[in-house]
Symmetry: C2
Subunit: 278 residues, 2 copies
């Protein structure tokens, strides 16, 4: 066992997971609870995002019939490692950290999810292999597994879209492997910051120069495979070098974008793409 795996689990441990099923109010919420308005998604922001934008109106109607809005307060678990998961969640708003506890107590963050990303329980009847924790309040459209599978069965187009999502995620994971195997701490941190400002921008949007950091240093460290101390030192160094500034501890502003690109080894703004959490 690696020495740094010992010790207590780091990072925020949320209270016992409890799904909060809010009542929806207003047209948008009605739509996303499964109500059908004018045969379209109406004002639902998800329509502008990944899934709904890609299917025809008829399919969208079917989706709405079986979809259900679910929200999770910050700190709650959407998925629990080891617990059966029989829902598929499309994240509408907020941010989620996916983590995994190893046998020896070490923690590993496998990714961060945001608007448009998916947590899929389609093959975790016997227990999810990781935990999904809400880093902020999170709004989702969700489906029961059977109903979602029904949609997949009835709409081949739908399965293809999901396959594309998954393929994107595989490629993203390969990119992350590159970070983990071939980069030093500062390089990983630079790549992470660029990831934050480039992902989850709307369609056609360009990379931003500021981003929220709702996750803890432990989350970042466990994601990049470095210690919290290294994360802290790295961010401090970036601040000293004028690469970034931090108005608050959970907010970062990129001051020298080219320098971060140079450091990270990334050559251009990565295309924003879907992520399939599970």
């Amino acid at each position: 066992m690696a020495p740094w795996q010992t010790g207590p689990v780091r990072g925020m441990i949320a209270p016992v997971a409890e799904r909060v099923d809010h009542d929806c109010e207003g047209e948008m919420d009605d739509i996303c609870r499964g109500q059908h308005v004018n045969g379209t998604c109406g004002g639902c922001e998800m329509r502008q995002l990944r899934l709904c934008a890609s299917v025809d109106a008829e399919t969208r109607r079917k989706i709405h019939q079986v979809s259900q809005r679910m929200v999770f307060a910050k700190g709650r678990h959407i998925v629990d490692q080891g617990e059966p998961l029989d829902r598929v969640y499309f994240i509408r708003d907020g941010m989620i950290v996916l983590s995994k506890i190893l046998e020896d107590g070490a923690r590993c963050v496998t990714g961060f999810l945001g608007p448009g990303d998916i947590i899929s329980g389609i093959k975790h009847r016997e227990g999810a292999y990781c935990t999904g924790t809400a880093l902020t309040d999170v709004a989702t459209c969700s489906f029961r597994r059977e109903e979602f599978m029904q949609l997949l069965q009835e709409n081949s187009q739908f399965g293809v879209i999901m396959l594309m999502f998954a393929t994107d995620e595989i490629e993203a994971q390969h990119d992350h492997n590159v970070i983990l195997t071939r980069k030093h701490v500062s390089e990983r941190l630079a790549a992470f910051l660029l990831f934050l400002v480039n992902r989850w921008v709307g369609p056609g949007g360009v990379g931003r120069t500021a981003a929220a950091l709702p996750m803890s240093r432990a989350d970042i460290g466990d994601y990049l495979g470095v210690t919290i101390e290294s994360v802290s030192r790295g961010l401090t160094k970036f601040r000293e070098d004028g690469f970034i500034s931090m108005p608050s501890r959970d907010r970062v502003v990129i001051e020298n974008l080219p320098a971060l690109y140079e450091l990270s080894g990334l050559e251009e703004v990565p295309v924003s793409r879907g992520e399939l959490g599970l």
Copy 2:
């Protein structure tokens, strides 16, 4: 840039990729070239594997109509990084290494593929993001992109199966992330050896205690994120400790399975599962 990224590209550089389209002989080959025999897969070994085993006879027939057998000699490239890829390959036999060259010349191995695994060109019209090199002679059943997409469109079941493959691969990648972020060299090596003996065993098969090592030390190192020297030292140590023996340089026999499991941190024999290369 990390210091160890400099220098020439390591590992075998195959001659210019050239697809070898062998003539097929015998029933099995006829089947896998797209011929239809008795409405089933006949003796094709792929049927025992991942895709063909999961679909009905009718779908299987359609598959065969558009499938084509392709073989690649050891050292040839099935995919080339940056080159458009318009085929989907189902690997019937042999082993493939997927690698990626970074801007600074560093090399990263994202995975190894074997029988039942898939190299998918369904979304790489503009260029594959990694290279697939045959480590041994490789036999495949392949499809042109359009025809494969047609299959997906016409058979919702088919897309779901592919989605399951992809989901498995995502989970496998997350497991690999754990290796890369939380394990020391010896632990990574142990996990790699266990991976080799447990994957690509037939359905219902148990883990073996011996495996071929058709890949170079550089391939292993680039996969595990360590140097070739560390790989070599690690294997030597394992031999000295009696954990393994190596009849030849490209062959390994596990002599102390529990010790390797203990080292790797893996708790049980991982379930063999599909891998989607691209």
